[in-house]
């Protein structure tokens, strides 16, 4: 019996080497950083899909989010990268972990056939669409580090948020939406008084 876990992690290591090699071959040292971020993103997502334990999946998402932040910083969007780390890694992931801790573990839920079949079908589909897109779109050939450095600083983003002719309306709408969503989340998740007076184990744990 082959140890599937070992096979999976060997494949993950191969993927990491391949991504680093791809980056190094196409852009030198800057490509190495790209390869590292791509490894974090794709490796984290694959681990999340693969692992039986929900806790491990949730923690592997941390790699995905951090890798995305690395991409944003590589692309010159420092502010978005920092916001990504603060909000995703610090906020959303903690929220998801709360959800994980409040629900029961179900180790038998992952079916190899379903995961493998899904990966196969989705891989073929994405490869086909990518081939079509790559053949029909005229891509920008210049690598990012040869473009002029982006002139937008965090200060410009802050000004754009409150400038009347730019993003002030979406900004205020986002503020209202966050307030409504968080109040609604508390309202939905609260326990009613009847829950405390009724059978304590009603949820069928």
């Amino acid at each position: 019996m082959v140890d599937l876990q070992k096979v999976f992690y060997s494949g993950l290591a191969l993927l990491a080497i391949a991504l680093h090699g791809w980056g190094l071959a196409s852009a030198g040292p800057a490509g190495l950083a790209f390869g590292g971020c791509a490894t974090l993103v794709l490796g984290g997502a694959l681990m999340c899909l693969w692992e039986r334990s929900v806790v491990r999946s949730a923690f592997s998402l941390m790699a995905t989010f951090t890798g995305c932040a690395g991409f944003f910083i590589l692309l010159g969007a420092d502010f978005v990268g920092m916001a990504q780390i603060l909000i995703y890694v610090g906020g959303i992931l903690a929220l998801l972990l709360f959800g994980v801790m409040l629900s029961p573990p179900d180790m038998a839920e992952r079916k190899l056939a379903r995961v493998g079949g899904g990966l196969l079908v989705m891989g073929l589909g994405v490869a086909w669409v990518s081939a079509k897109v790559a053949a029909s779109v005229k891509w920008a050939q210049l690598p990012a580090d040869e473009l002029p450095a982006p002139s937008t600083k965090a200060e410009d983003i802050g000004i754009a948020f409150i400038a009347p002719d730019q993003y002030v309306v979406p900004f205020e709408l986002a503020a209202v939406l966050l307030t409504v969503a968080l109040v609604a989340a508390v309202y939905i998740a609260r326990r009613r008084i009847s829950d405390f007076t009724a059978e304590p184990d009603q949820g069928g744990r």
Binding site: A45, S57, F71, I92, V115, L119, A144
Partner: protein
């Protein structure tokens, strides 16, 4: 790296998110998959913004997507807790009643 590399990684992340939603029978994995898909979209926004002149629209879009993702995660977590409380299960297919 050129634009195509970023778009390729983003497409792969999107596919993995979709597989996670479809292949794992657990509400929490649906949330994980949605977060992956939102991140894939964000990579595209920022990458196209970088390679398309000196604007900042793509970056602003990415920030708004992150804000929406935070709101979505909070509400979705509340729904997950309620579904588990009402149905005693975290399988999406078990939550099939609107009345209590």
């Amino acid at each position: 790296m050129a634009l195509g590399a970023y778009v390729a990684v983003s497409a792969a992340l999107f596919a993995l998110g979709l597989v996670t939603i479809a292949a794992r029978r657990n509400i929490l994995y649906v949330l994980f998959g949605i977060e992956m898909i939102l991140n894939a979209a964000n990579i595209n926004f920022v990458a196209f913004n970088r390679f398309n002149g000196d604007g900042m629209d793509g970056r602003m879009f990415a920030i708004f997507v992150i804000i929406l993702a935070a709101a979505e995660a909070a509400v979705a977590l509340a729904i997950v807790l309620n579904v588990y409380h009402l149905f005693g299960s975290t399988k999406p297919s078990d939550a099939d009643l609107l009345r209590e």
